[in-house]
Symmetry: C2
């Protein structure tokens, strides 16, 4: 069932996952299209972004954002077209970046929307390299990572929308960039297309040894998206005064229990002490919202000049969103995952 002009499909959170999400955790419902009241506008979703943070929002464990309620529409960033407007600042036909979630239509009072004009060249890119993932890469690397020319930067999830951008900015700043990705094809892409110096396949049996070989001068910056065995291999290679922006830990998002011992919490703290390491978690909008204009200007120029390459994995149809998110959490995507909810030219 494709998007229609008479009905609103919505993916609701049906139940909270225990471990990896399954399609049973989601429920598709169809309702009528809402009518915008005075001061409101009706948005039609064209692109929906899928991102690892969504796994956290499906849980009710304490986190930086409240969980999605059971029976509520799944959250998500969207690029939409204004269909109707009772709002003085918006006209039908305009494109906006917003937060409509996993549904065809949404009403908005305009708050939180970013205008994208009437004919954006790559509207979905506002969900990736020019949007939240790109901004996350940019601030985490530049503000916490503080890259200096000649330093070694290791990036996990190297071909994802954050990792690919981190590594390419690292190259622009003169770093030696080593990616970590799952599989030979992604690793080849990181080196041949993104311009990383090396990329190591974390599926390899001797992954830790390969990473060590790829970092003969140790690691000055580790941009953390993954956790788990990738971090385990990174930890002994961190140099004195290394910086570790902690952006994500996707390998652990489906975990249900702590792993067996020994307990390495004290080992990590001892390493932070002895090597004078800075580890810092961050949530892009809360921590860096005030620097969005700087990011948009600089990243926009880099993309226009061809200095930053960007890869999307497009899945058609809103129906496929749950399976696409499940695959993303398993690392099966190759590039930024977006759902084409409706044709650009509808």
């Amino acid at each position: 069932m494709s998007q229609s002009s008479t009905q609103n499909r919505q993916w609701l959170l049906a139940s909270r996952p225990h471990g990896a999400p399954t399609t049973d955790n989601f429920r598709l419902e169809t309702t009528s299209i809402p009518e915008p009241a005075d001061g409101q506008l009706l948005l039609r979703t064209i692109w929906l972004s899928l991102d690892p943070y969504m796994r956290g929002r499906m849980s009710d464990a304490p986190s930086y954002s409240p969980p999605v309620e059971i029976g509520a529409v799944m959250v998500g960033g969207t690029v939409s077209r204004v269909e109707k407007s009772n709002h003085p600042d918006y006209q039908p036909g305009e494109w906006v970046l917003g937060y409509s979630g996993w549904q065809d239509y949404d009403v908005s009072d305009g708050s939180g929307l970013v205008k994208l004009g009437t004919d954006p060249e790559h509207p979905s890119w506002s969900l990736g390299v020019l949007g939240m993932p790109g901004f996350t890469a940019y601030m985490g690397l530049l503000d916490i990572g503080q890259p200096k020319s000649g330093e070694t930067l290791v990036v996990a999830a190297a071909t994802g929308p954050v990792g690919a951008t981190v590594g390419q900015i690292g190259k622009l700043k003169g770093c030696r960039v080593v990616g970590v990705a799952g599989g030979a094809e992604k690793c080849r892409h990181a080196v041949e297309v993104l311009g990383f110096d090396q990329c190591v396949d974390h599926h390899a049996g001797d992954f830790a040894e390969q990473l060590k070989q790829a970092c003969p001068q140790g690691i000055d910056i580790y941009y953390e998206n993954v956790g788990g065995k990738v971090f385990d291999a990174v930890l002994p290679l961190l140099n004195t005064a290394a910086r570790v922006p902690v952006c994500g830990l996707v390998s652990g998002y489906n975990a249900t229990d702590l792993p067996p011992g020994p307990d390495r919490l004290g080992l990590l703290m001892g390493t932070i002490l002895k090597k004078r390491i800075r580890m810092q978690g961050f949530i892009i909008n809360q921590d860096y919202g005030y620097r969005i204009a700087e990011f948009q200007q600089e990243m926009g120029r880099w993309v226009q000049e061809g200095k930053i390459h960007y890869r999307e994995q497009v899945t058609d149809e809103l129906e496929n969103a749950p399976q696409a998110l499940i695959g993303l959490l398993e690392g099966k995507n190759f590039g930024k995952v977006v759902i084409r909810v409706a044709n650009n030219n509808l």
Copy 2:
């Protein structure tokens, strides 16, 4: 055997400890007093500082400083008087802060020495509140901790030279300050003399619960000197955007193995991510040497104005240094531990 003007007592590292150091790890030797060559001076140790970092220097595990070699003089900060000088910048009778280690006499070419004048009022304080421990407290709290008025600051080892200074600076900055110390007497001192708002005894069976009660608004800054069960109690109380300067982990310095599981390394990283926490290790001189003048000026004024209280635990005689260090690592000291190697007026 007291200090003499004809012999030089030296405590050498006899063997590396496995677990807690014992007196067998040290060996006292007596040699003749060295003669300063041209451009050198002879220093007579009056005060020797004992500090937790010394445990690390007794080991050969990788760290930020090279280990003391077996058979070499134990390292340590010292306040000395110039006995002879073949150096144009120094006169006999002057006092200097230096790094002569655990011995009566040392020759120096002047590098690394800090002049203390000919009649310093409290010469040993240069080893504590006005020296390395005070500087460590000052920079770790102000630069990494970034205290803001109204925030809750928790300080481990609250009556030690670093912790006591951290907490008092925190009060000057308007924080609610909660100390953690071992025993009722130290806790009373932290509140009644140092002016902390509360202090919790980590020997208490319900220590974690008591700490939680003492921090009804959670913890914004945890100044880490201890690790172990104190950190375990702190971790769930950390607020969003908390800062954790990692200055020391004295509870783990004698550990020989990792503790049993579950493995909480990932739990710590997940907390850093979800709560956007900054954890940062630092070594005072490497990281902040360039800001020593600022520290000396501000701390000197605070001490003079009576805004910072300082407590020393003085042990007489160089012979007692090993036992005093062993006690320090067990938390048996109360205040800054210094050895009076010779009488001030000798």
